[in-house]
Point group: D2
């Protein structure tokens, strides 16, 4: 005999554009929303009984309808609206999550002035958020974040003093390129925090800490960035990082009777070190 | 004051080809390995002390060296060798994981006979495994799996009787296309199971169950596939599925004064329902 | 003063599923269609005059409407129908192209028998076609093809005797792995050829030639595959190949006091050699 | 009998990082280089004669060696160096191309000042160039360009007055969102032009023209951007654009008893209109 031990489901990749007009100035939110629900859904799997099944197509419609009906100015706030809707509307929903990835646009500069309704893509980085609501009790969790923030420094990074075993060939270096794509997510110390302020602080502080920190490892850089962010963003209680080490390998030019003056490298995408860490207030 | 509350790290995307020769016949393993370690690494982050840091470059070398030194005939077995190596070699390692994705090749058929050393790509699906070792006690967990197994059926699927609310526009249907890309992972009831036998059984039973099941929902299809697999693979204790619903939407041909005889559809990639479930023996 | 010197436009990525039912057996065509038109469109660019502009949205609708109205059994035939439609319907269209990429599905085997309506993905390879019609005269060109046919051989390939200059470090080898992803397109000697027969022949002959050929270079393998295909497919007048060399690099195991018995390699995706050639009947 | 009618080959995806240090300030070039050669290579294909074959591995080495040995300050200049090297070094090379894609980095701002050696990714756009040299005569062609420049405007775009046929369902609109990802390449009127100046002008003028132009079609926007660029960049003789129309489709909210105040849209990636045009000086 077998049984269903775990289950959840949802709609992923719901893409939304919302235009907000204030006088001659227009603003733009572009988001990709993933909805996920857990609860009393076992009979859908085991009894062909769909009576408690909220179709994922309805989840998609709900995203568009609530985007129209509700006011919000951040993905955290919109995600919270969505998660609350599902928990409050349906008794069978034990928990609901809304994960949002927001495309970043910046106003096109025309002769020094920001244009009222034209935008260009502001980098590969996306703003992220995750809102989760539980049916019972005070279960609300909202996280903010950023994904894919590409950074590189051509010096100010070293890696030495590491463990050496029979399989170690890496040489110690006191001067290397450090390149990564920063994924960070943060927890807020209290509900109703200034989500946009936190994001703007992160977008300013994290790259600055990356630039200024004299790095002995990707790990140490993570801690330095976390420390700097928590210092400048009092609304945050913790921040988690996940950083791939996008290695730049020095090219051996000796076969061509050249020296490599630490200036010619191969950027690699695989394999990559992947370093994670969470920094929290004590 | 802040502190480091969580951390782990590893090397991802270590690509490996191993050729095994037996007489005139050659076999081929192609794998992508991700190594991940947890343990006593806090000082790397907070003290610039790398003395306990196993470089991720060493992890990469270890994959190649152990691939050469050890014999194995499955990704589960190789992952177990790798995870055991890190836990057993380094006191600071509390746990180690090796996640492996194996590319599937099949021998090229030449006039009906399998060629001894030439292969063609056997579909978008990959074989997967995850081996995890804990330092203390009997902590070994090995999972097998498959990812990206694309299947579609043009009938034998319906979706009706679902909950209808203010945001529901989906119509009930008794005959729809069902298309998905199956990700499944399974647990073994005992160590040292026949990993290859389990994979081959899954590759045979899962698509068959998908084909034969008269589906009332993706959820029900998951349960049917899980039930069928556990029945035919006694070595498995449970199987988890995650299935995107790759919707095929009927095209409205009325503006062209045509009927759609349930034969013209738009395949969509986004948004998609994403349905998960685990089936286990009681 | 400036002027418009070249222009064309179209609709890309029109995804289509067509189900064909014959008794209890159902067949499935899944295609991605790109339509492209050239002609008398200059005023759209320079005069804000859209009166001759066929909207790309209409091109999309046309794909679905003609998929419903017309019978066809190959992407070549459907592409020809589409290209002819645009040239014949609109005087301003000087030429029309329909490029089609067909997903390959194979029937799921249930206890040895092909299932009547359930399919699994038949590999990463896609069938391709390009149909082009010119307004004036007999201008019809139809090409068939395959893209992304992954193949690998673990021996039977060498590379030596090549030019050596000041920047050469590659060593000659008499035994290497040869891996590639074959893109091939072919021309038909006459209109109305057996497009499906040609594709099936290519799918059988190209991998076989890859397997059997004792290769001195990717270039020589291209010629061998072209020669074999033209020999077995009399309907074809020429075939063009483009092959990336997906290098497998032997890992240096000497630092670990191991020899590499030509069995441990790193599969790489970048950089890659890219070799092209066309073989035609004299 | 068959023969080889066309052939060429090269190395693609050669990734390069070059660091240039001037005092305390460091600059960074990151490029992906594709080399392509045509010439007297037929015997490689047909005679297993590799004596005139320049290995693609050597091409890769050449990229790194010349990056070290030569000074350059633009991808156009480096591509020209590379293409010239192959034509001048090898009599069998009839033509050589170097296509380069440069990643765009901008200095991290630290308290308002640009950091001397730390950078963040400057958007999804990449700078591109193509240099081609012919063996005989004055054959040099150098193109500059940009790829993947994402832009969107929430008004100032309309599409009406287009041709209507039996398959047209698109409605005329006087106010729509226009979103695209701009690919542009340009020709220089003379050799040795100011490649960097041209790129900077394009990066300023193209988005500005996109923003300011009152668009009646993507086609008209192309012409407007080309006209603006040629006016401000006298070194350029022509510019070619290829623009996907990244449609934002208004969501039908009527089933939810809501109106769509032209503010809720679905961003789509497929299908997409693809519009091309070249603007040149008369």
């Amino acid at each position: 005999m077998v049984r269903l031990t775990d289950n959840d489901y949802g709609k992923s990749g719901v893409r939304l554009t919302k235009v907000v007009r204030e006088g001659a100035t227009q603003s733009l939110y572009e988001m990709k929303v993933d909805i996920r629900l857990g609860g009393d859904f076992e009979r859908i799997y085991t009894q062909a009984d769909n009576s408690l099944c909220i179709p994922t197509d309805t989840m998609k419609n709900t995203v568009y309808a609530l985007a129209r009906r509700e006011s919000f100015d951040s993905p955290e706030a919109f995600g919270n609206i969505l998660a609350a809707h599902f928990v409050e509307s349906f008794a069978q929903v034990a928990w609901a999550e809304a994960a949002i990835e927001q495309t970043l646009w910046e106003r096109i500069s025309v002769d020094g002035a920001p244009h009222p309704y034209a935008f260009s893509g502001a980098g590969p980085a996306r703003r992220t958020s995750l809102a989760r609501r539980e049916r019972d009790g005070a279960g609300v969790r909202i996280r903010g974040g950023i994904a894919g923030l590409e950074v590189i420094k051509t010096t100010g990074s070293r890696f030495s003093g590491f463990l050496v075993d029979e399989f170690t060939t890496l040489r110690e270096t006191e001067d290397r390129i450090l390149a990564t794509s920063i994924d960070a997510t943060w927890d807020f110390a209290a509900r109703g925090a200034d989500y946009n302020g936190a994001f703007e602080t992160a977008l300013r502080v994290i790259p600055r800490a990356f630039a200024l920190h004299d790095s002995h490892s990707v790990q140490e850089t993570i801690f330095a960035m976390g420390e700097a962010l928590l210092e400048e963003a009092p609304a945050l209680s913790s921040v988690s990082f996940s950083l791939p080490n996008r290695h730049r390998l020095a090219v051996n030019l000796e076969p061509f009777r050249m020296t490599n003056a630490n200036d010619i490298f191969v950027p690699t995408s695989e394999p990559f070190g992947l370093i994670a860490g969470t920094v929290a207030r004590e």
